[in-house]
Symmetry: C2
Subunit: 239 residues, 2 copies
DNA sequence: CTATTCCAAATGATATACGATCTGACGGCG
DNA sequence: CGCCGTCAGATCGTATATCATTTGGAATAG
């Protein structure tokens, strides 16, 4: 009787698209963990649709690498192997670096200020031991820098990479103790380069290294603590 | 009665996958030109399947950016705008550059020799005015360099970029007179860098520049000849 | 007790049928 | 003459039904 439900889905959205968002949301927020079986009929019932649109949604998620789907076997949230994960990270470092460099000439003082404010809040999270907010803010920080990216195509690759990384955020090898503090410092360094209108290549390599160092730290951490229970301190977040 | 048909599709392939390949093949070889309407029922009849798998195939092609699909309107081969095309090229230059640099440490003398042989044949094509073979060999050349790429994820991005480029190979702004000869010279230069075990960054930037120069040449050509009928000489091929 | 075979339930894959929406043409009205 | 409403055809979107495959366990033989 009253207004529409708070989270009422856009009625102009097709059922296939609704299914897509439904599943994707659950993968992103961790309700569907890697290995979780996505049964067509079951999800269809949950959404009160038939299996056809659900199937379409799952196929698209498969194309993004978030889901694996085998003929006559079924679909499950991707259980990304460590090497695959590292490959994704490596690719992401390259793509993000380039996207940052492309965006650099279009970044205003306002963008810098907003990004810096976010980075300050990340420092707060460090003190409060709040890895969840830290990770969210980290994405926000980079999103601000990408707002004016002139090349939507490369931004799309960035987002795909983020999604793929996100599938595994609970997995042991996506955490790197001791990186969070270094991360915020690198953010500040990056902002200084942007403010100083540094050469594009310099910015690109700095942004790339920002993620590469996380990757390296992960590898080193893996080598030392083979399957040791992670963490205790914050820092339990990729950056 | 005799052996299986020459191009008999793998019977273990699902009908959805068959449809996917069917359509994609036609987009890639130009039988379906940009703007060509893909009517579900029609393609379903051609393949003797129902519309459901065809629909699935088209959705996947849409996700790859090869097809556009509008609700209740239909699908058509993507008519990629010039700016989109340039964005794809720009992204591709970055991704290819990185993939080349990653592959460099794993490239053997044999790979170099094979790549060089292909490049020689490209020179022949230059003399024979054979743009079609030239383009095909160009892909082969780079494929050889990517054979040992340790990161399949970034290779996937390369292939997606190539496919997207390929959709438009007949479109006026994908041709750049005067580039073919420079292209084979840059190939040779790249091979020399690889033979000399040049630093990764140097190789990356050289490979990136190889495509970027084509991009720049395209832009310059566009600026001069606004919509003039292209070509006459070979060179009518991206490199 | 173990290995093997076979069957039934679960699940995916696809065909068919129906409903919804868009497009373009036709004809009346201003 | 041009604008607008209506209608028919085309096409997509989805539900339902049916077929095919897999899987796990029960029954049976060794």
């Amino acid at each position: 009787m009253a207004g529409p439900a708070v989270n009422a889905p856009d009625p102009t959205l097709s059922k296939a698209q609704r299914s897509y968002r439904y599943i994707r949301e659950r993968i992103n927020d961790g309700r569907y963990v890697p290995g979780f079986r996505l049964v067509l009929g079951q999800i269809a019932k949950e959404l009160d649709v038939s299996v056809v649109p659900v199937r379409e949604a799952i196929r698209l998620l498969e194309a993004e690498g978030l889901v694996t789907f085998e003929r006559n076997i079924g679909a499950q949230v991707a259980m990304i192997k460590e090497t695959e994960y590292l490959h994704t990270m490596q690719t992401l470092s390259i793509v993000e670096g380039a996207a940052t460099a492309m965006s650099a000439p279009h970044i205003s003082a306002d963008h810098i200020a907003r990004a810096r404010a976010i980075n300050e809040r990340m420092i707060d999270c460090l003190g409060d031991f709040d890895p969840h907010s830290f990770t969210a803010l980290n994405l926000e920080f980079h999103s601000v820098l990408f707002e004016e990216c002139p090349n939507p195509h490369i931004l799309d690759l960035v987002h795909r990479g983020w999604n793929r990384m996100n599938v595994l955020r609970d997995s042991s090898f996506s955490f790197v103790p001791g990186r969070a503090r270094a991360s915020v410092e690198e953010h500040e360094e990056l902002l200084r380069l942007l403010e100083a209108d540094a050469p594009a290549l310099e910015i690109e390599l700095a942004a790339r290294a920002h993620r590469t160092r996380t990757l390296d730290a992960m590898l080193a951490y893996q080598a030392e603590h083979k399957r040791a229970a992670p963490v205790g301190e914050l820092d339990a977040t990729s950056a």
